[in-house]
């Protein structure tokens, strides 16, 4: 109960700060939509090719926008030595990890709610009925991204060139998540159902569960070493 209560406390504090500053959300939103427009004007795709390209292009946009969000994840704690204030407190480190993961997840989902339909409009995709399944697969991939991203963001917290270092350590580790999510989305867009992509979906779920659990258990060590 303490873990959940503390998670809720820190998450509410982060959301309140974000509502006031709107730094991360606005940056992520504009960057995400900007990337879609760049893709739209760069590729002259026929509808059949769009279905093949859509998962990769969407995830490219999510990766870059998500990394922007991760770079800002501990910004409030970096100011005024507030990270020390949290370390000094009886706050469970697992709760801090869950709160930061949850916060980043909320930001990314908000961006995705705008970016995915915008992609459908820009590329004249007709399969609007598949959006709920696309959202579901994207959500699972986003959870994996946020879990691993929060861990890596904490590891690089005190690094000198953390903005440069973060994608370098994060992207190689994200390969299973990206691959699984893209394969699942391809299957959904081609067949109209997940069907043959179930092994990839299981991989995605397994990744989310394993890294979420590992994150809660090792976050203490990550931030103190």
């Amino acid at each position: 109960m303490t873990l959940l209560r503390q998670t809720y406390l820190v998450l509410c504090k982060d959301l309140r700060l974000e509502l006031r500053r709107r730094d991360s959300l606005l940056t992520m939103f504009f960057f995400g939509t900007l990337l879609l427009f760049v893709f739209h004007f760069s590729f002259d795709l026929v509808p059949e090719r769009v279905v093949e390209m859509a998962p990769a292009l969407l995830w490219l946009a999510f990766l870059f926008t998500g990394t922007l969000g991760l770079a800002q994840l501990f910004q409030a704690e970096r100011e005024n030595h507030c990270f020390d204030a949290l370390l000094l407190s009886p706050l469970d480190r697992g709760a801090l990890f869950l709160a930061k993961t949850g916060f980043n997840l909320i930001l990314m989902v908000l961006v995705e709610i705008v970016v995915i339909p915008l992609f459908w409009i820009l590329f004249n995709m007709r399969s609007w009925n598949l959006l709920p399944q696309v959202f579901l697969v994207t959500l699972l991939g986003t959870v994996g991204f946020c879990v691993l991203g929060t861990l890596m963001s904490a590891i690089t917290l005190r690094a000198r060139a953390r903005e440069l270092l973060l994608p370098l350590v994060l992207f190689p580790l994200m390969i299973p998540v990206i691959l699984a999510t893209i394969r699942c989305m391809e299957e959904v867009l081609h067949a109209g159902q997940i069907g043959d992509a179930m092994p990839w979906l299981r991989l995605l779920l397994g990744f989310d569960v394993i890294f979420m659990t590992a994150g809660v258990l090792i976050f203490d060590w990550v931030i103190e070493s």
């Binding site: 030595h81 204030a85 000094l88 706050l91 203490d220 103190e224």
Partner: protein, 235 residues
Amino acid sequence: MRVTADKLAKAYGFLWALRELDLELTPGECVALLGPNGAGKTTLLKLLAGLIPPTSGQILLDGEDFSRGAAALRARVGLLEPAGHLYENLTVTENLAFFTRLYDRNSAARAIDAALAHVGLGRRAGDYVANLSSGMKCRLSIAKWLLLEPELLLLDEPYGVLDGSGVDLLEDFLKDQCAKGGIVVMASHHVSRVLDLCERAIILSQGRLTFNETKRQPWPSFDQAFREFLPHGGA
């Protein structure tokens, strides 16, 4: 609470900031932590606060190893950063409410209002911390620790940003902490002021504990240590 530092040492790379330090702090004590710049005062405070792990040795709080950092032990230790440890984009009240809930202390609006009134910030309750002066932030930190009730309170150079009434407020707060059985350890270069308040003085020099005595009048051993290790201070 009884605090014991046993053969405490801290190295940053090849540089030893603190070496083989043995220290005992007993309830109700107010201790002045003195020493020139780079003597290891801030390192010792951070070790006692559990913010950094020791390279060797250990800190025991009531016989329990503090370096393992159990949440229940952390809740009993406070570090008063004069103008830090506060969220700039939260209001004064929101900061206090957040930390009191985090520490599972009384977060009722009435308690927060009373603490703010006590430190003279009653009319700034709705202001963002970013809009406060350094002195006001320090007063807010005092209100924060007033509400969080630590048993061991550590202070690093608290006098720099406070005006006269702020200093009186801080000293009354610290006296009250000690009267309630708490321990106060204060690092400062304002030697005469901290010695007025504290019953014991500790001097660090190049990471070593060179002086550790209870105050008395006259105090020739302190005068000698002061001349030797704090050559540029002013008692």
